[in-house]
């Protein structure tokens, strides 16, 4: 399984040194945040909409079993098949089995984080089935054999010239300079795949329980093509994607495109209910829905973490995050990056393997401010840190003994004024020789980590409380 969360610190260091990546991230995050803000400013009831969106998700998740059963009933009623998968492996096995039984040689896929999560392409490829990513960004990273670095724009870490080189190398399309030329080449390549594919695999932005309808949001048209031309349509969705009714879509379709790309509406929204019906010349002839758990029920169990299941995968939190905008998606080491990645990755892959992620935050709260369903990400980050420190379910994990002892001593000292004062006055007397240009460029001993990337200010010659006392004395004397 692809997992690089354990080397998060090293990943981040590499990312920070990558000047091309820094430029790409700056462009991405400033642009997306700007257009998102403009799009919401245009709405006269943007805040009320976000409340509504959250309320719908709250209700849906709080009654998840009921709505999943209703969804299953309605998909079946419309002639579709419904499969349930506890793990990623189970889901891959179901899809592979389906493909092999139906003689599928070629698959076209839309951008779907959940299919990345279960590493579906690798399973299909190993079985000799060609699985082609059709979203332009995903197509690019598939050619480059890389992982997506952003939920909405998977190839955004790549520069135009890198993509041009890639197309020359893998497609024999040389001398492409402009984005338009590259898009045209991709269109031609992929059109052939759409027309000859046996199966189209998509995710689901929303699954409407009352009608068995899958809603899919896109700009390129690759989802429409993947669900129109191949004879089999497979939808893979996490359990948390189900919503109660059609009208709920109105709320989500107002906040999702605005949050993701600053658009009032994306170019295409498809509402697929089962396979084609009598008399239709196109559309899939077979429809399959796979409902996947893969650890989401674990998140559901924890009432404080439960709201992370409301996520619409819009990417807005990535775009405003000061950490993401410096290190990019790959540094997080798994499929989901940014603030949302930091809160769902630990429960899904294990906190012991991803302990750095909850700490990759200044808790500024910018993510919470932009989340269309108002997930309290900072709160969950702190919760995860607490779990790590307390050792979680397995008390052997967690910080080393020396750190825990040091924290206890620190807490002891901080609660006692005289000790606090002493701790900060004594070093002030001796710091002189340690300063360079009036600052600590290197703190001693275990504190040196603090000065690896910045200088530490010196302790004040006179603490503020002394200055305050003097000022008060002077004003009393003046008034007397």
């Amino acid at each position: 399984m692809y997992l690089k969360t354990q080397t998060f610190i090293e990943n981040s260091d590499l990312a920070l040194q990558n000047q091309n990546l820094q430029a790409r991230l700056r462009a991405l995050t400033t642009r997306f945040t700007l257009v998102r803000n403009n799009a919401f400013a245009e709405l006269k009831d943007g805040e009320a909409l976000r409340d509504k969106a959250r309320a719908i998700k709250e209700r849906a998740v709080a009654n998840l079993d009921r709505y999943l059963l209703q969804l299953e009933e309605n998909v079946r009623r419309r002639g579709g098949a419904v499969h349930w998968a506890r793990t990623g492996e189970e889901a891959c096995a179901i899809i592979l089995d389906l493909a092999l039984k139906s003689g599928v040689k070629r698959v076209v896929k839309s951008k779907s984080m959940v299919t990345e999560e279960i590493e579906l392409n690798e399973v299909l490829e190993r079985a000799g089935i060609e699985s082609v990513e059709t979203d332009l960004g995903e197509y690019i990273i598939q050619l480059a054999r890389e992982k997506p670095s952003h939920i909405i724009a998977p190839a955004i870490h790549k520069s135009k010239s890198e993509i041009s080189d890639l197309f020359a190398d893998k497609l024999g399309a040389v001398n492409l300079k402009e984005a338009e030329e590259m898009a045209r080449v991709a269109r031609k390549q992929l059109r052939e795949k759409f027309c000859t594919a046996d199966m189209g695999i998509t995710g689901a932005n929303f699954a409407v329980a009352e009608t068995g309808t899958i809603a899919l949001v896109e700009n390129e048209g690759n989802i429409r093509l993947s669900t129109t031309l191949p004879r089999i349509h497979v939808v893979l969705m996490g359990i948390e994607k189900v919503i109660p009714s059609l009208e709920d879509l109105a709320v989500f379709l107002k906040v999702l495109p605005r949050s993701a790309t600053g658009q009032k509406m994306s170019s295409y929204v498809s509402f697929i209910t089962g396979a084609r019906r009598g008399g239709e010349k196109d559309g899939a002839q077979e429809f399959h829905l796979i409902i996947l758990d893969n650890g989401r029920s674990r998140i559901l169990q924890d009432e404080e973490k439960r709201e992370s299941l409301y996520c619409l995968r819009c990417g807005a939190c990535l775009n405003v995050c000061p950490v993401y905008s410096k290190i990019g998606g790959h540094a997080y080491g798994w499929v989901y990056s940014g603030p949302i990645g930091s809160i769902i990755t630990p429960p899904l892959v294990g906190l012991d393997k991803s302990k750095d992620l909850p700490y990759a935050s200044s808790l500024c709260g910018a993510c919470r401010e932009v989340c269309p369903v108002r997930i309290n990400i900072p709160h969950i980050l702190v919760r995860l840190r607490n779990e790590w420190v307390e050792g979680g379910q397995d008390r052997r994990k967690g910080p080393p003994l020396i750190e825990r002892v040091a924290m206890r001593l620190w807490a002891f000292a901080m609660r006692r004024r005289r000790i606090y004062n002493l701790i900060f006055r004594l070093p002030a007397l001796f710091q002189g020789p340690m300063l360079k240009d009036g600052k600590f460029d290197r703190l001693p001993f275990a504190l040196s980590g603090w000065t690896e990337n910045r200088d530490f200010p010196p302790l004040a010659k006179k603490p503020f409380r002394s200055i305050w006392r003097e000022m008060e004395k002077q004003s009393v004397m003046r008034d007397a």
Partner: protein
């Protein structure tokens, strides 16, 4: 074996939710199929009355929004105008082949004879063609011509329902999509379209169409260095002709 997965997942979910401190009840009207037809009819009447009253404003708003997304808007007073516009669009493309829905509105606009006169072959989604044949034509076609079910004014979107004679490929495969809209099809937006779809389904006794698409402008992508490219996998051009 597959049953085991289903049971286990549902059991885990139920167990997880049973612990909850406060309950969030499903809406009483959550099962919308139970909404009284009378209430739905009243709502639909209100929507239709409102649309009639604000017809010109809705048209203007639709035109503004459509244009904002890169679509082109034309106002046709009569069938000749429709044909004239389509002729202009076709010749700008050097079009030789068009595919289209089998629609009475297309018949009303007398497009087919007009196109044929201009030397453009028009393949209509009728029983004459096997699915494979029709799709083959759609793949080669220069233009796809459809009508719509609704048009959303606040986002400039078209709403198309798939069905017999209304192939999805028509508004998807050819590089140019021409949509003919009637002014009474223009509604305010998302808040109206879902009740209307529900109503349509209820009175026809048929379920929702197997594929509904909201189309907002031509296809696009910004995946390469955030540079906007209009025309990705779907049509590169969207032309909307308001006919009557």
């Amino acid at each position: 074996m597959p049953e085991a997965a289903r049971e286990e997942i549902l059991a885990t979910i139920r167990g997880a939710l049973a612990k909850r401190g406060h309950t969030v009840e499903p809406r009483a009207d959550a099962d919308r199929r139970s909404i009284g037809l009378a209430d739905l009819e009243k709502l639909v009447e209100q929507i239709q009355a409102d649309c009639e009253q604000r017809r010109n404003d809705l048209i203007k708003q639709f035109e503004t929004e459509l244009t904002r997304t890169g679509g082109k808007f034309y106002r046709a007073e009569n069938a000749q105008s429709v044909c004239q516009y389509v002729k202009e669009i076709s010749s700008a493309q050097g079009a030789r082949l068009a595919v289209g829905w089998d629609s009475p509105i297309i018949g009303e606009s007398e497009l087919i004879p007009s196109l044929e006169q201009s030397g453009i072959e028009f393949i209509s989604d009728t029983e004459r063609f096997e699915p494979g044949e029709f799709i083959g034509k759609a793949i080669e076609a220069d233009i796809g011509i459809s009508t719509v079910d609704y048009a959303l004014a606040d986002t400039g979107s078209l709403v198309v329902l798939s069905g017999r004679g209304r192939a999805r490929s028509v508004s998807l495969l050819p590089p140019v999509h021409v949509a003919i809209v009637k002014s009474e099809q223009i509604i305010p937006g998302l808040d109206q379209v879902f009740p209307l779809l529900r109503y349509k389904s209820r009175i026809s006794g048929e379920d929702l169409s197997s594929a509904i698409a909201f189309i907002t402008g031509p296809s696009r992508t910004a995946d390469i260095e955030m540079t906007l490219v209009v025309g990705a996998h779907g049509p590169k051009q969207l032309h909307v002709i308001l006919f009557g």
